[in-house]
């Protein structure tokens, strides 16, 4: 059997979601964003919500998320995505609304917007990509950077006296009465991807049944920022990130 015979439609067992277009991604090799984008596209498609979904893109590496998923998008100022999403959902209660934010966007400059959107129980999904570093601006310290981890703005390693502690913001958000689902996932193995997709679907369903705010944190890699190969990054994440940010559901009601 030659290749052309193999790629016949009737032999198709897996494909790119229809909502993902053919624009070449700007993400670095080994970056988790591509897989997370794909999962969001699959969930929206499987829910049949393509025409009802509005995404809010952040500032950071995912600033161009709107280039890859063929849905309506708004690009927010740094950290403000939950404020935009609040208005979009309140003005259009029947639409499906999500933000896509990194650790700097969500847990530093946008802390107030994040906490208060969650506390109001806005019926939105917050997709939170935590790779413990500012990727887009060139590898600076994030609120979630681990102690001892070196970045462009803590080149000698994050130390408590100077920089304080890594912020476990999802744990904090789980305490708020407005959140209905807070879960920490990863996409480094096939099994993890499968589980993450399940929780993502649940989050989007929650938003449509107006249960409150759902947060899906993805503990992620940044091979370029961490100055490692993609493979090393995954190992480093499992060994160093997971102990601080353990995977699992922090809240699911």
């Amino acid at each position: 059997m030659n290749t052309l015979e193999i790629i016949k439609p009737e032999n198709l067992v897996y494909g790119k979601p229809r909502l993902m277009n053919d624009n070449p991604m700007h993400y670095c090799p080994g970056c988790s964003h591509g897989v997370i984008h794909k999962l969001i596209a699959e969930v929206i498609e499987e829910m049949g919500m393509e025409e009802q979904t509005i995404g809010i893109a952040p500032v950071g590496c995912a600033v161009f998320a709107y280039n890859y998923l063929d849905i309506d998008w708004q690009e927010a100022a740094h950290g403000r995505a939950p404020a935009l999403a609040t208005a979009v959902k309140r003005l259009n209660p029947d639409k499906m609304v999500f933000t896509y934010q990194g650790d700097g966007d969500l847990a530093a400059i946008g802390t107030a917007e994040t906490i208060h959107a969650c506390n109001r129980g806005e019926n939105i999904v917050i997709v939170f990509v935590n790779n413990a570093i500012y990727g887009m601006t060139g590898g600076q310290m994030a609120p979630t950077t681990l102690l001892g981890m070196s970045t462009a703005t803590c080149p000698h390693g994050r130390n408590v006296e100077l920089n304080g502690y890594p912020l476990k913001i999802s744990d904090l958000l789980a305490q708020l009465d407005g959140t209905c689902l807070v879960t920490r996932q990863a996409v480094h193995t096939a099994a993890a991807v499968k589980k993450a997709k399940k929780m993502l679907r649940k989050a989007f369903e929650n938003s449509m049944s107006h249960k409150g705010t759902s947060i899906v944190e993805f503990v992620s890699t940044c091979a370029s920022g961490w100055k490692m190969s993609p493979d090393q990054s995954n190992k480093w994440m499992v060994e160093n990130m997971f102990p601080k940010y353990p995977l699992g559901d922090l809240k699911d009601i």
Binding site: I54, L69, D72, R80, A83, A87, L91, E113, H116
Partner: protein, 358 residues
């Protein structure tokens, strides 16, 4: 049917006018001297009648970004604040100008800088008409001088914002916000339906319907050649606004030998000064810019051929006076009188200043 005349504060008039305009949403944060706007809206509960959303945000920053999100859906959304809060909103205003989003922002000015005072001021003129946020952009700026205009400028501001896909600001001061006058409110208009918005604002992010490309609302463009073209397009739009949307009021200007130029509450005070001066035989008129941007520079230039001098009166250290001088190209003397820090001048004080020009 006869119009119903009501007595209320300028701030309350804004709230009622917003509901009656068919506004879709208000997002705000309390600050003196404009808190009655949100208080009135919350009391009126328009979500039960027109379906208008009213939400108290956690900060001015959040409120203006809620406005961004709502505006990006093609909805008629607004916010209000006072000077320190408006400083916080500048990020969102710049982003909305860059993303070409229509929205209404109300600034009931108080004295600054910093926390300043809660008394009236016009010291945010520069911030409003010269930029405020970063980048080359312009904000359509309306300066009401009465409670009636507070109500009327809601519709005017929304209409201009949607005509040009640009944010518009009502730049009032504490006097206009707090004083009570009679007002005739507009008729209740229905809110736009989603179908109407999809038709009138085809760029709105309301979900990508089958067959159309995704709508993306952003101010980001990394290719400098494209970004320059975006900026050129903005400037062309601003030129169009300057050409078409200038509004001003003239009082006894026909035979005037001197002009007082003032906006908002100082125009009201100067109106009395004009009456006092006329009684003394001084031929003075009042020229009141209603749009501060676009500024009525052509009209003022024409007056520079007719009058002997101009007195500009403001509640600041001299801001609009710079635009008056530019407009008359320094052909005639332009004097300035201002009170600072929340002090409002009397008509007699202004008259004394006028006499220095004679």
């Amino acid at each position: 049917m006869e119009d119903e005349v009501k007595l209320m504060k300028g701030n309350e008039a804004i709230a009622h006018a917003a509901i009656r305009y068919g506004a879709d949403g208000y997002f705000g944060y309390p600050i003196t001297p404009q808190s009655e706007i949100m208080e009135t809206l919350m009391d009126e509960k328009p979500w039960e009648t027109t379906g208008m959303v009213v939400l108290q945000a956690e900060s001015e920053v959040s409120a203006i970004n809620m406005v961004y999100g709502g505006a990006a859906c093609g909805k008629r959304v607004m916010t209000s604040s006072s000077s320190p809060g408006i400083s916080l909103k500048q990020e969102g205003i710049s982003y909305m100008a860059g993303a070409e989003l229509p929205a209404l922002i109300v600034n009931v000015m108080r004295g600054g800088p910093g926390l300043g005072t809660i008394q009236p001021s016009q010291a945010d003129y520069f911030q409003t008409v010269k930029g405020g946020g970063h980048g080359d952009y312009r904000l359509i700026t309306l300066a009401p001088a009465s409670v009636q205009e507070m109500a009327d400028h809601v519709a005017l501001g929304f209409d201009l914002a949607f005509k040009y896909n640009n944010p518009a600001m009502i730049l009032a001061d504490g006097v206009i916000g707090q004083m009570m006058e009679k007002v005739i409110l507009p008729e209740q208009k229905p809110r736009k339906t989603e179908e109407e918005i999809r038709k009138e604002q085809p760029w709105a992010t309301l979900g990508k319907t089958h067959g159309r490309k995704p709508n993306i609302i952003t101010s980001l463009e990394l290719d400098p050649a494209v970004m320059e073209q975006n900026n050129i397009r903005f400037q062309q739009k601003y030129n169009q606004i300057e050409e078409n949307e200038v509004i001003y009021e003239e009082l006894l200007c026909d035979d005037a030998e001197y002009l007082i130029v003032a906006f908002g509450s100082t125009a009201r005070i100067s109106q009395t000064t004009v009456e006092l001066a006329r009684k003394e035989g001084i031929k003075v008129g009042l020229f009141r810019p209603i749009t501060l941007w676009p500024f009525p520079k052509k009209k003022l230039k024409a007056y520079s051929e007719k009058v002997k001098g101009i007195l500009t009166v403001e509640l600041n250290a001299g801001q609009m006076v710079e635009d008056v001088k530019l407009a008359v190209e320094c052909k005639i003397p332009v004097n300035f009188y201002g009170r600072l820090g929340g002090i409002v001048p009397t008509p007699d004080e202004v008259l004394d200043e006028l006499k220095k020009l004679l």
